[in-house]
Point group: C2
Chain length 294, copies 2
């Protein structure tokens, strides 16, 4: 059974699963694991690793429209070097501070491969699910897409400073809070924009019609993309970006835009059930990296 099939099986089995975070009373909780061979390319600093791993969980809290309150992490490695560990903790703490949450420590584990398990919690009495998109709603994203795809190319080419910069993202907690009374469906883009659109469409039982020209591609992608097809791959399918993908009534978009601390771009419109996910008039492949996620 592959990871995606297994996650679907568990989502059917567990009432709390199947969204970016589980809801328990007024609390949301989410957990993730990242490890060296798949998530931290050669050149990733421990500061970036701490920031990114904790940030991934905070992004899931943001995707519920919740106020992030705290995060913990398990740092597992073959050995515990003091400067590595402090760099990791500083990265974890700084990403928490960036979104108004508290990093409250965690656990250490002696482990063959450098591995990080993170958990974040947040508060909301009205979480935004993936299920509420309606035909006519605007389909929007925060920020830009393709940063992580570009970062990977920079790691490969040895420009580790630029790669690390791109790898540290701001979890969209403030945007999620501003959107929580407006968004009809929301998730983050960690599995890639294409898969996020498919997941929102499926959960909401509707279709999406988007235009690739409207997708805000990160400028760094233009520095690495081999051609237009590659640029599209980086922005739509690679994933590992942590932007919010959401729907809301079109009339509300301009009203709330000033309250959101990051650019919001409308990339399409919600269509009737059965219309599928269409980009530029063609079915959009439900394809991306399967990196895990709630």
């Amino acid at each position: 059974m592959d990871e995606r099939t297994a996650l679907q099986m568990l989502a059917a089995d567990l009432s709390g699963a199947g969204d970016d975070a589980a809801v328990v009373g007024d609390t949301v909780i989410t957990t993730d694991m990242l490890h060296e061979t798949t998530d931290f390319p050669d050149g990733t600093t421990r500061y970036t690793a701490g920031w990114r791993a904790v940030g991934a969980s905070l992004s899931d809290v943001a995707a519920m429209g919740a106020t992030a309150t705290a995060a913990v992490a398990v740092y597992a490695a073959p050995e515990f070097d003091e400067s590595d560990l402090l760099a990791f903790v500083n990265g974890a703490r700084d990403v928490c501070e960036a979104v108004g949450a508290e990093y409250v420590g965690g656990d250490l584990d002696g482990h063959q491969e450098f591995t990080v398990a993170t958990t974040a919690i947040g508060d909301t009495d009205d979480p935004v699910r993936r299920t509420g998109a309606s035909p006519g709603d605007a389909v929007c994203v925060t920020g830009t897409l393709g940063r992580s795809a570009a970062a990977l190319r920079f790691f490969e080419s040895g420009d580790v400073e630029r790669a690390n910069d791109l790898f540290r993202f701001t979890p969209r907690v403030a945007a999620g809070e501003a959107l929580r009374d407006h968004a009809t469906a929301m998730m983050d883009s960690s599995d890639g924009l294409a898969r996020s659109l498919h997941q929102l469409a499926e959960a909401s039982d509707c279709g999406f019609d988007v235009a690739f020209d409207e997708v805000p591609v990160d400028p760094s992608v233009d520095d690495v993309a081999r051609d237009e097809a590659d640029r599209r791959e980086c922005a739509l399918h690679f994933g590992e970006d942590f932007e919010l993908v959401f729907t809301l009534p079109e009339a509300e978009l301009e009203t709330i835009r000033p309250a959101i601390d990051v650019d919001v771009t409308q990339v399409g419109t919600v269509t009737e059930s059965g219309s599928g996910v269409v980009a530029d008039g063609e079915p959009l492949s439900d394809r991306g990296f399967t990196h895990g996620g709630e």
Copy 2:
């Protein structure tokens, strides 16, 4: 730097660290990682692994005197076998149900070694810290000690059914709740009774005087111990048991005993600062397994 030194360094650096769980407002949160080579001997079922891993985090919530509300887990393995995964989830869910908490899922991760990262949260507006023991207080433990040491021997000798039974423990959440207005200091015994006593004494700046004859040794230990010294090692130093170790005014012990759903045994008395931790008149070695923990 070994794990214990690294944990001490982090405890000094992070305000939330240094207790069984971190406190964030009225919420406590704790996270742990367990993995095959060190925590799940050959013969451990996936049901037991789910129970035990999630139970370890629930035990940390119990040690704060908090009401456990929910737990999540990351299940990381080289492959995802459906029956393994369901067994794990059932174990995780059953241990949560045993303490009135909700298992709300988590994440999957493709990983070379079977590894589990768990997080539990709970509610309390008045957490029990490790710092409040006073001279004259009774030193007590819940349940019995040595179960996990005995389990390991049963795994080694091939009696995996008995070993699995012993490996599945009831986190002392109900006892922790009953104790929260009475205990002056509390933690769990996961690093071994001896180390727990040392940690409580150090945090509370006092000494402990205990009698080994009073320590409630699990009957299973008598089936595996080679001699009296080995029996003592299993009960005092091996650890990996998840009982509560706590102090409280002696006068309150008999009053609250009926409200606690498990046997409580007084094993000694809190003494003045500088007296050290003494067992049967001899200094008790601050020695145990370092399995991790908050």
